[in-house]
């Protein structure tokens, strides 16, 4: 192959290193109005009245809107349409939007927000999982779900769980906690809208142009063809810009009212309220194993602190239980999940969506079981690895799987098995798996998930696709695929992307779906185009490889007229035969293995990570440079979650809504990372490719915690693994107590009766 597999620069590198790329907040068309949003100062309160009259009188204020101007509810999932762009009945977290103001400049808009008088009837806030499970003092946060503040239950059982436990030689139970954290994209969310000739145009820093388009249509009550959504250059998402947001709807409405461009850029503090980040998850797991460490059954329970609204929460809940059997062969599996509402900013998808938390619990749990049995943890895990081309007990189809090779690479490179053993120095090992795109769309439909058109004329090639490049390099993937098929360089391919007027649909940059899905759509369109070119050149008695692309395109245009082709991708229908089977299936899974080496100071509890080795089965690297970038970025983010990042609250208030106090790793905190790209040639991925953007985060937090145990002999069963927790666990160890820091118990949750599902016949033996 000519360009696939080459470490070429990103096609959009030049605009990014010169400052030319236009992000949403860089736009300032003539007569732009600035929008500010007044937000609730109370975590839970009924709104008694809103008086905007003083604000309206301020010179320079052109429009003031409240919830009664935008009453239609929306939400990313069809089953949880529970948000309003502006709330006029009830505030559910500190930061819930109440009033929006458009003015000639930002300071006037801010002063006008101060002039609004809102009368609240303050209600008792619900700030923890325990509180949400109890009878509310005043009233429930949402008027659906239940009992109490429960949002969603899941209870599924696959195979003979009771029999599996009965067969076990050893059974162990553990409890873990994964603290919530946030995406912290460097770019604050920003959106700007115009209303011209009865049509709304919105530019936004979104990951999901199409879903924003749908939400605008619903709330503004305009048909989709009267709305155009364009993805501006994107300053980082990580899942944090995957919901339709209030400010996107608000600027569109304000533009409709004023007839002028209206822009809203969130402050950094507001970004912490927009959130949709990692759910805090409490976990309980019970596993049965044989003497030699083969898993016979597993029972996994999760409780998710969801925040005030649904967001992706139903999917997140399923994800906390879905992928455990995709790395380990679990013959019988029971999963019970529960998401609760609390008076905090809503949680949603962050890199790894719902799976880093159970991965942390699962990997440490297996470490402990191995030690119970006197087995080597790595050997015991390997004994249980899933095999390629199998079905898991929860019906997930595994195709290519490089788990064993990933493991070998990091063990060898790190010298894990022969590491020096001394107090204060440790290594930890963990593995993981992630989706290459969700097998089902957010809203149920039979249409393709990604579509690409290609136009060739007079020697030029343009590819059109709705895919949104959020920095991960989806534009480069599109250009590389088209270039490979047509015999060009990626830089020869012009791209038009992420614009609902001019590009065919792509569902967006989430669930690690773009390379797989848009890549396959581009491949189909490009192969059809090549076919036309080859035919025309052959008609002139030559071979495609002999002529220039210009000549080929002139011959083809002369012969066939306008040259356009299209390709699309629809994932295979592989979900299992049970309710809830839509979350988890993916056309392919990526696999990762990781070793972390660190120093842990027994006196201060300080941890210094020395090096991370990570191997990632990406199927095939369409651009190894970009794959490495995704892997390194994932390791970085995993280390941040493992060691310092936490989104926490005190008395209803976010404790740290600033970049200074919300700790994230700097240049100085980041260790050396050695990345191994493992290629397994997935049978359905474009050129065999799978995802790279999310999976490599997952093994990092458990590997850190395992390394701390290796160094100091204490278990830190919750993230972040902070110095305070390490010191406290060591204190307990010295006193002869359990050498552990972590949650003591899992709450009594009234899960509904489990739905029993037979596993696929012959799962794991390759016959289904």
């Amino acid at each position: 192959m000519k360009v696939v597999g080459k470490p070429l620069p990103k096609v959009d590198a030049a605009p990014k290193v010169t400052g030319r790329a236009v992000y949403a907040d860089d736009m300032l068309p003539a007569r732009t109005l600035h929008c500010k949003i007044l937000r609730s100062p109370h975590p839970h309160a009924r709104i008694v009245s809103i008086d905007t009259s003083a604000a309206r009188r301020i010179p320079g204020v052109l429009a003031v809107i409240t919830g009664s101007d935008l009453p239609v509810k929306f939400g990313i999932l069809p089953v949880t349409q529970d948000e309003r762009a502006l709330e006029h009945e009830k505030a559910r977290y500190v930061g819930d939007p109440i009033v929006a103001i458009a003015a000639t400049d930002e300071e006037i808009a801010a002063a006008a927000c101060d002039a609004v008088a809102v009368e609240y009837e303050v209600l008792e806030p619900v700030m923890s999982i325990d509180a949400a499970l109890a009878t509310p003092k005043d009233e429930r946060i949402q008027d659906y779900g239940g009992p109490n503040n429960v949002h969603k239950f899941v209870a599924l059982e696959f195979g003979d769980v009771e029999g599996g436990f009965a067969r076990a030689d050893h059974v162990r139970e553990d409890v873990f906690f994964y603290q919530g954290n946030t995406h912290l994209p460097m770019e604050q969310h920003s959106a700007i809208a115009t209303y011209v000739d009865g049509r709304v145009t919105l530019w936004s820093s979104t990951q999901v142009v199409h879903y924003v388009h749908r939400a605008l249509s619903r709330v503004l009550e305009l048909p989709m063809h009267r709305i155009r959504v364009i993805g501006a250059a994107h300053g980082g998402g990580f899942g944090g810009k995957t919901d339709p947001f209030a400010h996107e709807i608000i600027v569109a409405k304000l533009a409709m009212i004023t007839g002028r461009p209206v822009k809203c850029t969130l402050t950094r503090e507001e970004v912490f309220y927009a959130h949709r980040g990692r759910h805090p998850v409490l976990m309980w797991v019970r596993t049965g194993v044989t003497h030699d460490g083969r898993i016979t059954a597993m029972h996994f329970r999760t409780a998710l602190d969801g925040g005030a609204y649904g967001s992706y929460g139903v999917a997140s809940t399923f994800y906390t239980g879905a992928l455990q059997p995709v790395t380990y062969d679990i013959p019988a599996y029971r999963f019970e999940g529960c998401r609760v509402f609390t008076n905090k900013p809503p949680c949603g998808p962050k890199r790894g969506h719902g799976t880093p938390q159970p991965r942390f619990g699962l990997e440490l749990h297996l470490e402990k079981i191995a030690r119970d049995l006197g087995l080597d943890p790595v050997d015991m895990k390997r004994r249980n690895y899933v095999k390629p081309n199998t079905r898991t007990v929860n019906w997930l189809r595994v195709t290519s799987c490089g788990l064993e090779e990933c493991t070998q690479r990091v063990l060898e490179a790190s010298g894990f098995k022969t590491r020096e053993r001394r107090p204060g120095r440790g290594m930890g090992f963990a593995i993981s798996s992630y989706l290459s795109g969700a097998g089902t769309a957010i809203y149920w439909n039979d249409m393709p998930h990604s579509e690409v058109q290609i136009k060739v004329d007079r020697g030029g090639v343009t590819a059109y696709c709705g895919a949104m490049d959020i920095g991960q390099g989806s534009d480069s993937v599109l250009a590389t695929v088209v270039a490979e098929e047509l015999g060009l360089q990626p830089s020869d391919v012009r791209l038009v992307t992420a614009d609902t007027d001019t590009t065919p649909i792509d569902l967006g940059s989430y669930s690690s779906r773009v390379t797989f899905m848009a890549g396959n759509a581009a491949l189909e369109a490009a192969r059809k185009m090549r076919e036309l070119l080859v035919q025309a050149v052959a008609g002139a008695g030559k071979r495609y490889e002999e002529v220039s692309f210009e000549e080929a395109s002139v011959l083809a245009e002369a012969r066939f007229g306008t040259l356009t082709t299209a390709g699309s991708y629809t994932p295979p229908k592989i979900a299992g035969p049970y309710k809830g089977s839509g979350v988890g299936p993916s056309p392919a899974y990526s696999y990762s293995a990781c070793v972390v080496d660190l120093d842990a100071d027994a006196r201060t509890g300080l941890i210094k990570v020395n090096k991370v080795w990570i191997a990632h089965d990406v199927g095939r690297a369409i651009n190894p440079l970009l794959v490495e970038g995704q892997v390194e970025g994932s390791v970085y983010m995993g280390l941040g979650e493992a060691l310092m990042e936490e989104q926490v609250f005190r008395k209803g208030l976010h404790k740290w809504p600033s970049m200074l106090e919300y700790k994230s790793p700097t240049f100085l905190d980041m260790p050396e990372v050695e990345t191994f790209i493992v290629e397994t040639d997935d049978p359905e991925g474009p050129y065999g490719a799978k995802e790279a953007g999310q999976g490599p985060l997952l093994p990092v937090p458990p590997a850190v915690s395992a390394a701390v145990y290796d160094a100091l002999g204490v278990w830190i069963d919750e993230v972040p693994v902070t110095p305070e927790k390490v010191v406290e666990a060591l204190r307990r160890k010295d006193k002869g107590e359990t050498p552990r820091y972590g949650p003591q118990r899992f709450p009594a949750i009234p899960y509904p009766e489990t739905i029993k599902v037979d596993g696929p016949v012959g799962h794991q033996d390759g016959t289904c």
Partner: protein, 164 residues
């Protein structure tokens, strides 16, 4: 009254030397250099992540030294040489740092990139062959959420090697 204050913003005439070009501006005295660059001079290559001096995204050079433009008032820097990312290339030739960043994928979303490029340029001017530790030290005030910093450090080393 708030309304009156808003109508009577004090403005000042300033002459700023940005990227080697003098520019005369009439701006409210409380506007930050970040805002004046972006809004009054359309130099939107300079980004912001917090506007509170916490992230380094808005870094520009003032007389060759990195400063957080969100914390600088233009009136303080009249007559001094201000460099933004738009002033890094000479003509259509990119700065070696820009080339290295593009080549090895040191810019993912690219949002932190202008600030980091300028911090790196100042470092290389003072210390043309910095060690890895010196690079990390010099850049510690610039956050990046995409790259894990790895490729950024490599790109700076690459550029330093080529400039030597």
């Amino acid at each position: 009254m708030k309304e009156e204050i808003l109508r009577d913003v004090e403005r000042a005439v300033l002459t700023l030397n940005v990227n080697g070009e003098p520019a005369q501006l009439l701006v409210p005295v409380h506007k930050t250099l970040l805002e004046v660059l972006r809004e009054d001079m359309q130099l939107t290559g300079t980004k912001h992540g917090c506007e509170l001096g916490e992230c380094g995204t808005c870094t520009v050079l003032i007389d060759g030294k990195p400063h957080l433009s969100c914390l600088v008032l233009p009136i303080q820097v009249e007559g001094r040489a201000i460099t933004t990312v738009e002033g890094m290339a000479s003509g259509s030739d990119l700065d070696p740092l820009q080339t290295a960043f593009a080549e090895i994928g040191a810019a993912q979303c690219g949002y932190c990139t202008p600030g980091i490029l300028l911090s790196a340029r100042s470092l290389l001017e003072e210390n043309p062959r910095p060690s890895r530790g010196e690079i990390k030290e010099a850049l510690a005030g610039n956050l990046c959420r995409c790259t894990g910093y790895t490729k950024i450090v490599e790109a700076i080393e690459l550029a330093a090697g080529r400039m030597a």
